[in-house]
Symmetry: C2
Subunit: 221 residues, 2 copies
DNA sequence: TTTTGTATAATTGTATACAATTATACAAAA
DNA sequence: TTTTGTATAATTGTATACAATTATACAAAA
């Protein structure tokens, strides 16, 4: 994500703790002690502190002054809410992309779709992780193409949030195929400079993912 | 905002730097040196570092590893984009509030409107700051009432973002009166449990603010 | 003049020391 | 037994020390 995240200890600790919250290693209300985590990761308290402060800003951790940091956790309702919000914003993003997208970005979108289709045709079976990664790439190109720093930032955050939480396992073959087809339709609408259509398709695309989530027990609340 | 922000040095430094970026003291691409800021505020580097790392997460600061922190700045387009996004999400918020709002919250909304109307009737002229504060309160009650931690968090962030940036000065008397009237309409729709109407009105409410912004030179891009 | 190399200064990255605050253990009193 | 008080331990908050990295100044070479 951001520049320094990969280089500094603090950034890596941030990503690590975040992942461990989202994948369930740290559960709701767990106390996150600076020393304990530091020892676990082989670093001092300083980078851990930085990471915890950042995680609070993201809403994953609650800090009580002079007492400690606690996992806030992310409920099924939270994930559901994010999808509702995302469906609106992905629509807006596709609409804006119609205006701002470059030829190069169009080609990149095309490429991820082709690679996805290739994955699905493999005789040895498709790799869910690869499909998930390509899906991520497709969307982040669109975020970039929206020409909006704010919207891109927001959608990227959300994408990370839910992606790790629901893991890549949710990609059923049926859903994967439909998803790729929807990507292709979105791309076509953008190529045709059809704002209305692009927005609607991107909107529906996320709603379809939601229908799939519902089957897996993510209820409305 | 968050719990620890008021108590710890790091939290206060965070708020201070953020304010100074949004109100223009620190301009785009300004370098934010840990030592310099620390001396200015009479604290050591540690809390400043924490603050800068958090600000990067908010997108107000860019950190280049081993080199420094630079103000990212917030353009007119950014503010405009936030309003477009906000208009959608405030609509969603009002819709959800219809389902989740408590009687107490309804009363609080009523109260802020009454207080606003009282302000506008004052012979000595109304206080723009008071009106802005009441506007903020109205919206944050709604955010709370949406029953969505995620949506509330997001809208609160956005609200802070733009509020400080465009200062309270933009509140013209004409706009203030209309704004209060719109608040009243939104409240009525929520009371009537009319989701559709509540969403639409909240949506339009923000779009009206946008029209006002446009007059003040905030262009589409 | 322009470029390149190098010593020095400045700055960030991380660990650690110490103070302040909170949690815990346990004895004394009810 | 339950409650309260107090000493001690554990933890967070902040400052600072030191290492690593980058910026700057300036001389030497082209």
């Amino acid at each position: 994500m951001e520049e320094y995240q990969d280089h500094s200890l603090g950034g890596r600790v941030f990503q690590k703790i975040r992942e461990d919250i989202l994948n369930g290693k740290y559960k709701e209300n767990d106390e996150l002690r600076e020393n304990t985590i530091g020892k676990e990761l082989g670093v001092s308290r300083t980078p851990v502190r930085e990471a915890l402060r950042q995680l609070e800003l993201e809403g994953l951790v609650t800090i009580v002054p002079n007492r400690g940091a606690y996992v806030t956790g992310i409920s099924h309702k939270d994930i559901w809410d994010i999808y509702v919000i995302r469906s609106m914003l992905e629509g807006l993003c596709a609409r804006w992309a119609v205006e701002h997208i470059t030829d190069e970005q169009l080609n990149e979108l095309e490429e991820t779709i082709l690679l996805s289709e290739f994955q699905m045709k493999k005789e040895s079976g498709f790799s869910a992780e690869q499909i998930a990664a390509l899906d991520g790439r497709f969307h982040s190109i669109l975020y970039e193409a929206s020409g909006s720093r704010i919207l891109g930032h927001l959608l990227t955050d959300f994408h990370n949030y839910v992606q790790t939480a629901r893991k890549s396992s949710v990609v059923s073959e049926d859903r994967a195929r439909k998803s790729i087809r929807e990507h292709r339709q979105i791309l076509r609408a953008i190529r045709d400079r059809d704002e209305e259509m692009a927005e609607q398709l991107a909107n529906e695309h996320i709603m379809h993912v939601m229908q799939n989530l519902k089957k897996q027990g993510y209820e409305q609340e």
